[in-house]
């Protein structure tokens, strides 16, 4: 397979879906021989470099009813082909889901955010995917559709490893739903890259609920420190039900850093990731706590 990125040497049959039924029928028929194309920012790179060689490309950007953001008392529902840029521009995301807003803001170039979709970011299943830690801390649910029907999967069960998800070959991710956020809740996302618009060396998201001076519930998720984005229950448990102080935040941040097992790769080293994870988690906790109305 040629790896000249000037052209796409691979040959395939192009299938342009205009309805969900059509896309699911092709997925059912071709399964592992097909790949779903939406924004193309991951798939085309992988095809150019020969990492994947699908016989069929199913283009789903023209499927009506997959590109939407609906915010109401039941929370937020996001269609899978919604672009990152559309999420960034959505008032309900910006005001109600700070961690998700900060994640999409931090991602890539303007042009890439105009192309890339949230469904693609999840389906690509990079351990560094920036939308994953926020969805983990919000307890998002993913809707997976096939000709046989739909099933709902908690985002925590979706990622199986680098590039691997629980999506069956005949299934399509169609919707991401996030529960409503109360007035005494707050969330935040932080990422460390080499330069702006970079892939994360490490990223972290926090979501917590406040009652007075106490944190009633807390979720913490890291990306780029394990084969999949992960939660760190060790640190979460230290905060839940406790009065939040600077000391407790530092203790929880240390516990979070101790719980992760990052590797060294071409973006960063294990040692560096361990060191900065503590600082990043402490900062993310402070930001989320203050957004929940808490004082320090």
């Amino acid at each position: 397979m040629a790896t000249d990125t000037r052209v796409l040497a691979a040959e395939f049959q192009y299938l342009e879906a205009h309805s969900l039924d059509e896309a699911l029928a092709w997925l059912g028929q071709y399964g592992t021989r097909a790949r779903v194309l939406a924004g193309g920012t991951d798939l085309l790179v992988k095809m150019k470099t020969g990492q994947v060689q699908p016989e069929y490309i199913i283009y789903i950007k023209k499927v009506a009813g997959l590109d939407y953001i609906q915010a109401d008392e039941a929370g937020l529902r996001i269609g899978a082909t919604t672009t990152l840029r559309k999420l960034e521009g959505c008032a309900a995301v910006k005001t109600g889901y700070s961690a998700l807003y900060e994640a999409v803001r931090s991602m890539a170039a303007t042009a890439i955010r105009n192309m890339g979709t949230i469904g693609g970011n999840l389906g690509n299943a990079s351990p560094a995917a920036d939308t994953a830690p926020p969805l983990l801390v919000y307890g998002a649910t993913l809707k997976l559709a096939s000709q046989a029907g739909t099933r709902l999967v908690p985002v925590e069960e979706f990622f199986l490893g680098p590039g691997k998800t629980c999506l069956a070959p005949e299934e399509l991710l169609t919707e991401i739903s996030l529960p409503p956020q109360g007035s005494e809740s707050g969330s935040s996302f932080l990422k460390l890259g080499r330069v702006a618009a970079d892939i994360a060396k490490i990223n972290v998201a926090v979501s917590l609920q406040r009652s007075g001076r106490n944190c009633t519930a807390c979720r913490i998720a890291f990306g780029s420190v394990a084969p999949t984005p992960i939660r760190v229950p060790e640190a979460e448990a230290l905060l839940a039900g406790q009065e939040i102080t600077e000391d407790l935040i530092e203790t929880a941040a240390q516990a979070g850093a101790a719980a992760i097992k990052p590797i060294s790769d071409n973006r960063s080293t294990r040692e560096y990731r361990l060191k900065v994870s503590r600082v990043m988690l402490a900062e993310a906790l402070r930001a989320a706590w203050q957004r929940a109305g808490g004082v320090l």
Binding site: V7, Y14, V45, K48, A109
Partner: protein, 155 residues
């Protein structure tokens, strides 16, 4: 692989192309339509030298299958202005010395045009944020940002 007809609008003109599904928008623009403004830089979505506007939004032509562009409106730098009638941004780039080797310039101009359409009077920080994915290997960023900031009556 069978060729198929794709109808799209490029710089305001209806075009019909007979292309294979694996042809990239960038190569179709350059090789079939002779529009050399969009450049091949990295081919991987890192540099944004291939930026074009799709329905007014900056996108990377090296990562777009041309067949997916049926019915869409593409703008390349050739659609912004020409030697006799420069776009205000092009004039500003000249006035501020914002063009060095010129390789990133088409992408910079188009991305800046999209920024000004959304936000007619952006701050320096907003300009740097919006253009952050467009790499200039001459590192001429300061002049580029000034050129966008001080553009006269943007279109």
């Amino acid at each position: 692989m069978e060729r198929q007809w794709v109808k799209l609008k490029v710089n305001g003109k209806e075009r019909q192309l007979f292309i294979k599904p694996n042809e990239l928008l960038l190569n179709v623009l350059r090789d079939e339509l002779g529009l050399m403004g969009a450049k091949y830089g990295c081919g991987l979505g890192e540099c944004a030298a291939c930026t074009v506007l799709v329905n007014g939004q900056p996108m990377l032509a090296c990562l777009i299958l041309a067949v997916t562009m049926e019915g869409q409106e593409i703008t390349t730098v050739e659609g912004m202005g020409d030697y006799d009638r420069l776009h205000p941004l092009q004039q500003s780039f000249l006035d501020h010395g914002a063009v060095q080797c010129g390789f990133c310039t088409p992408g910079m101009l188009l991305t800046a045009q999209a920024l000004l359409a959304e936000n007619p009077d952006p701050s320096e920080e907003e300009i740097r944020d919006y253009l952050r994915g467009n790499l200039c290997r001459c590192t001429g960023y300061a002049a580029i940002v000034r050129a966008v900031k001080e553009v006269k009556h943007p279109a």
